[in-house]
Symmetry: D3
Subunit: 262 residues, 6 copies
């Protein structure tokens, strides 16, 4: 059920019955020479809308611009600063509670948003407003990802390329070889850490044209496989959250040694 498509009287019964909302969150940023800059929000929206339909949960409109300053050197990358992003997401999440929403799944397709969504989720959790968690599709199907691609790369690689292919066909197929040649195929080949410290601040420092992994290994068919598998995971996650008692999802009270030692 896509919130934006319905009138308020049509939505009313949803809130009478369910208290979960799915919020798609992506970014608009460079994705190599072969993928559109909307890649992350396209994927997030695609998965969120489909899972909501399959499992009959409410999906909200998408937050299209995220925390992506590490891709800013490439033309067109858009971003908001982290505090603005957190405030925006936190505010809309808290306000959903007016309608009785107390569980939120952030369907996120951009790694740069992760710590910020976790921080927002934690505040909602500690204030006992809602149980809100962040979900990234590829982390729900690690075996399939590994099985399908030799160099799966975290950004603009074959995973995302396949997904966009399946969802929109908006892939520059003729650029896949170029992407492979000028991008960073294997993270092991570049320096991302020094003595255990992460030194990687900007994508441009490690991938000349912005992609990581081997995009030439992508296909529309693999995209469909990934999409279906991830969607099934998301449905399961929503059902799991919805089946929990609210109190079970909320913080435990203080520990005491006496009780702990029993």
């Amino acid at each position: 059920m896509y919130l934006a498509d319905y009138t308020w009287p049509e939505l009313e019964s949803y809130f009478d019955e369910k208290s979960l909302a799915i919020v798609p969150i992506g970014s608009t940023e460079q994705h190599g020479v072969h993928l559109p800059e909307g890649t992350d929000h396209i994927i997030a929206e695609g998965l969120a809308r489909e899972a909501a339909t399959r499992a009959d949960y409410l999906c909200t409109p998408t937050i299209n611009i995220g925390v992506s300053s590490h891709h800013r050197q490439f033309p067109g990358t858009m971003w908001v600063d982290a505090p603005a992003f957190r405030s925006y997401v936190e505010s809309l999440s808290r306000n959903l509670a007016y309608h009785g929403v107390d569980r939120i799944v952030y369907v996120n397709a951009h790694g740069g948003n992760v710590p910020h969504l976790r921080e927002v989720g934690r505040r909602l959790y500690e204030d006992e407003v809602a149980y809100a968690i962040e979900w990234m599709w590829d982390e729900s199907i690690p075996e399939l990802v590994t099985e399908l691609f030799e160099q799966n790369g975290p950004h603009a690689g074959p995973k995302e390329t396949s997904m966009v292919w399946y969802l929109t066909e908006n892939v520059r197929a003729e650029q896949l070889e170029e992407a492979k040649e000028t991008g960073c195929v294997d993270l092991a080949d570049v320096q991302t850490h020094q003595n255990g410290a992460r030194t990687f601040y900007d994508a441009v420092g490690n991938a000349e044209t912005g992609s990581f992994g081997d995009p030439s290994d992508a296909s529309k068919e693999k995209g469909e496989q990934l999409f279906d598998a991830a969607c099934a995971q998301l449905v399961e996650l929503c059902e799991w959250i919805h089946s929990q008692e609210f109190d079970e999802l909320m913080p435990a009270g203080p520990v005491s040694n006496a009780s702990a030692a029993e």
Copy 2:
């Protein structure tokens, strides 16, 4: 040119040639018993994308959730608090400057966003980062609006109903009479001011089911007329802004009496 559809190398030349971006901004909120809650962002996005195509300017993805707490009593209305909205829009606008954007048109379709977009625009202007202004489609074609509708209503009335009809066909035609009967057809019939002070805080106080104006006067054809006319205005606006010298758009220096009196 829709930013999200292109790769970064494809976008690069745009920034070499032009420095204007069109940013669609709407809301997700109740629009009576007959319109989907996405009405405002659907309209903003529709106009922004079409004008960008017609006049070859860059259109960014849409900000779908705005400042709408005055509609919160109706199920499904989403909103962010004003400071969070301003920060989000200001941050993404400032960051566009990295790519050379120094003119922004906020194509806005929600009245509740207006003062906030003006405030953001003013900050960018006073800091001389960009000339950013807010544009609402119906204010660009007041004569046509008056000509087409007897009771044009500011929210969920025949203007918006016609536009959504044209853009998506997602209108509950069978609810139009109900909307008329239970909404506020004529603002003059309700108390919005007292001794000159605006007393109107929440839509629910004046329109039982949330619409203002006479939605039954809407049609898809009128929507097309409105859309085309407004789009033409937006194209003109962009061209006007683009044709100005940047310095002309920026603040004047201090006045001195001597110079003023000359």
Copy 3:
């Protein structure tokens, strides 16, 4: 009853009986070549104090400096940034609640303050701390204003000139012709909008010496008429607000279709 003139034991009984406070808010900014920069706070304070006396409500001291950066190019204009203004007004308003004040009328005489006072009023309203609304004198007597002046102008025009004349006599009568000649007599003559978008950021862009309307049409007698009429409106407004039940002034609860459709 002017709060600043009384001792706390004298004020105590007011709070036992009434819960309304009148807060005058103005600005300190250029008002053309003929009016003092204090014009807006002089008018706000004059009206607020008189209405409080006539109707026996409490008037607080005046906030003299508002949101006026759009007049900054003229020497002497003072201003605070919008977030600082909102915080200051919100803080003092919330703290009035300690004494039982739950209704506030912001007697405002500066257009630039309007959206900010409405935002503050909305927060107090949504938090159910107080019903606070913004009132501008000239909007309470539109017919009289139109009747008295051909070109009434929104800033430093004949309305404000007449009021200041009546309240303080501090008008440069010998500059009225100069003001007319070098100011903007008719807003229709200047470009304030482009294709429906407001392009007007700074007063200096449209009025060489800062006034709008025809100040030469002003007189002390007209000032008296305006003052009396507006004061009567303000008294009525206060009485109306005071006569309402607090719950009636506060937000309604969520709408449900069932109840709405009854």
Copy 4:
């Protein structure tokens, strides 16, 4: 020269010649059973306006409401929270720099504002925007204060009573004995510290009706003496600041041992 009384062309020459502004800052808060709640802003404004006239400097309108929550238990006390107060003062001070003001004297008559004005002054100083300092009248004439009053008390005592008497005659003379009997005449009689730590959070904890010192020792004549003496000090201060080179008023650069040891 009182800024609010003049037109912008009249003010222009001031900024051509001088770069100092005097900003009166007070509070609106209980001052015992005998003094009006406006006491602090009346005194600040009185001194600032007179010194500006005597020495031909620019005086701005007054900030009437300050940081006074420690007097909130007494009816009518108004206050803003400290961060809002600092932001408001800092913002208007920074904006004065637009007109060339680079020296500001905060003529303050409320002890509760002191640390906040110093914090704001420090920020302006460290950012090299302006040299802004806080001045309290009674600290400029300690000998006279001691000479005139046996129990001079920091709040609503004979100092302030005398000043208000001289400036406005708005003193409840018949309440002075009551004030003495029910207030705190000698701070040494109450517990304000414990083992060196200040335990004094609210005035009500130490003075039943809110005054400190012996107000019955006040007179209009003493008020005149205090006013004249303090005014002379303020004039001297302004002249001293104005006579300094701006660079001399601004922070020194880093120290080096070599240079220090020379």
Copy 5:
């Protein structure tokens, strides 16, 4: 009882029995040519740990970096801006309440932290979260300080020198004469005020090498005396606070004249 040294089961009983925490707060900043930059946090920690041990209260780890920008010209001085300092201290203090702590003594050894700790303490007090007060050791033993030193100086003088000597022996004894010669021995010799206004923004303006008072008058023995005496005061303070009813420590309710006049 030093919190950091114990396991959580060992700490549990403390919170069952007591609700007071001692929080040492210092700074890291220049202390003349003879003292280490850690002087203030060394002293704060030394006193807090010892008093906690003597009287069996809980001492938390130390906040080592405070508000010291006025010493920044000297190499190595560290500082945080005032708002960041206040937020950090306020946050950790509020969070202590989770464990039942409702009384806090900030054992502070840096004058620059004082107004900020008082502001934080006031917020906790007004919100009725905790009774938190700031304590500076030398203000608890003014007679002893005066007795021991002729020129006791507020910063890096003989008081602090003696304390550091006693606590760490980390004093450059051979630099004491140099410190005396190049520092500011007597504040009366330098200009810190002008016409009653504090003009003193940076230490470097008044003390060439950063110390105030006569450090050559210090000794380890005097340090021991000071330490023991101050520690005894701190113990007494904690016991006094702990012995109060919580309600007694919290704000009184509104005053009414009737009750006050009884």
Copy 6:
């Protein structure tokens, strides 16, 4: 070189020669039934001080309290909210730049601080104030950790137990078996994720007494090995950073396709 131990003249030459600072950052929070709550700041400080000594870099005092609300259910856990933590660290880091520091290594021993330190580091990096990175000791020696312990656990496990043993001997050896029995030995045994989403908000949800891994596998000797190995890594990291040109550490400029495709 430990900053707090030196006088400013002694520190001056450091800044003449080097521009790197090591800032130890830990937390104060429960570490199971066998380790003191100071574990994380003890380890951070231990490593930072030793590496600074070995390689002759400057080490600042320690930030002892971090972002640990996920351990709050256990008595004694202290924490600051994330925004306050970031502000505090950012402010002190920016201020170090006054002395010429443009490289900072945050020696961090608490996982909960990681995203916040990265966010702060990114801001300093993007503003080109300093190259600041976060380093966690155990991530620099993954092989040794794996070799030494079968169940190394991320919190209060054998790694941290061995380190604290070596650094302070303050380990409750007699509680190690209890810790093992009542803690979470193997993360694989508990639910930390659901369908790829991290569901783990509070430690108490997965480890009854708060430790993860098998602490009974710890020893002082292993602690020494870990300490030496990690210290060597930290020295190398500092030397690597110090050897880079500042410009090389700072962000690259915008990419252009032309240049990228060459």
